[in-house]
Amino acid sequence: MKLYRPATILVGLLFVLLGGITRLAGPDHVYGDDQNLKVVHGTIGEALPFAGSGSTMKVTRIKFAKTIIQSDPSDDDKPFETNGVFIAVEWDAVRGVKDPDSFDPVLITDGGSVYTEVSEPSESRMEFPDAGFASTGAVVFEANPADLKGLTLRMKPSMIFNVYNSEIRVDLGIPTEDIAQQMVDGAVDQYVVNGDVTRVAS
């Protein structure tokens, strides 16, 4: 019995070659900087399709605030304060039949900052309702007033496998530093974060 028959060696070589070929296929496409994501651009008031799921997301209003508080606070709950500014993004979501991918909404700016949503209160969130329903709600971000130019809401689906997909980018209408400053100066003292409200999709 021979241990190394030509066929055995050939199979081994085949595996090595296969490994090389998958490498050549371009690691950039597998791990690259979101080359598989189509960007859907939009502005406030536009219902934008999310990741081919038949669901749409619309930003209805943004509001700048110095403090936030939940709509139904108990005695112990104090307003949340910030050294920067809170930005509340009010949204209107219509759910399609297919379950949309989960996502973490973030705010991005021309200056390169990435602002994430506040972890509390729990009323602040952005989610699609169950199929056949639509809902409205608000999600709050904490931001640095010095970097707000080009403020954009980004909804990037989180994927385990890299498939072709699309992300939403909503221009929140702050084209210059001056406008950003005006928005910060005009921030309300307190923004009440209401929980989301679900209705039947018409």
């Binding site: 019995m1 791990y31 920067g84 200056g111 900052s113 949503e117 972890s119």
Partner: protein, 210 residues
């Protein structure tokens, strides 16, 4: 058609393989047994001296994405109640600032970035994460430091004149692309940066407000 040579070769190979079979089995069994014994006795740890600086509070430590300013520590005792067991927690207060000049991204202080070092060869205790206006509150890059605290679970009879808190920092780097990993840098692999020594005060939490 196999030749006689090949048949003899195969027979010899057969003998060679089986000759030391018992010894081989014995050796493998011994290795497995040794591994089991070491596992059962808690594994063996490499003992290393401390390789990071030790500072006394108040101290400012820059570690990875955050700049910490340690202020004070409290040992909070909750006496045994009618329906609850006695509990003690070690709470450490600090200010934290996001200094992530690489990604400019809001981030919370993860629970494994601050550890309690009991000393005497005992295992490190992870914190429960940065509590700034709420647990795991995201700190925004570019804003001034924020008051935070974090909690360590300790034994109910825990007492100490000084406690040591280890600060870990993440590094901004990529992985080896030849292994098919992410080459683009990202924040990862926490490494020890410093140890801060604080003198805790004892506080009794009797569950009453004010």
């Amino acid at each position: 058609m196999e030749s006689l040579d090949e048949v003899i070769d195969a027979m010899i190979a057969d003998r060679v393989i089986h000759r030391h079979r018992r010894i081989w089995l014995l050796v493998i069994a011994l290795i497995v047994a040794a591994a089991l014994v070491i596992l059962a006795t808690g594994g063996w740890k490499e003992k290393k001296g401390r390789v990071v600086p030790t500072m006394d509070a108040p101290a400012t430590v820059t570690a990875g994405r955050f700049e910490f300013g340690f202020t004070k520590a409290e040992i909070i005792r909750k006496p045994k109640g009618e329906y609850s067991e006695a509990e003690t927690v070690l709470r450490v207060y600090f200010t934290a600032k996001n200094i992530d000049s690489e990604e400019h991204k809001s981030e919370s202080i993860h629970n494994d970035l601050l550890v309690f070092v009991p000393g005497g060869g005992e295992d490190l205790v992870d914190s429960n994460g940065g509590d700034c206006q709420g647990l795991n509150w995201d700190l925004v890059y570019g804003l001034p430091p924020v008051e935070c605290s974090t909690k360590f679970e300790v034994a109910p009879d825990f007492a100490a004149d000084t406690v040591e808190i280890g600060v870990l920092g993440e590094q901004y780097k990529g992985d080896n692309g030849a292994l098919g990993l992410q080459e683009k840098p990202y924040w990862q692999s926490e490494t020890p940066v410093a140890v801060v020594r604080l003198k805790p005060t004892v506080v009794v939490d009797d569950g009453k407000d004010g």
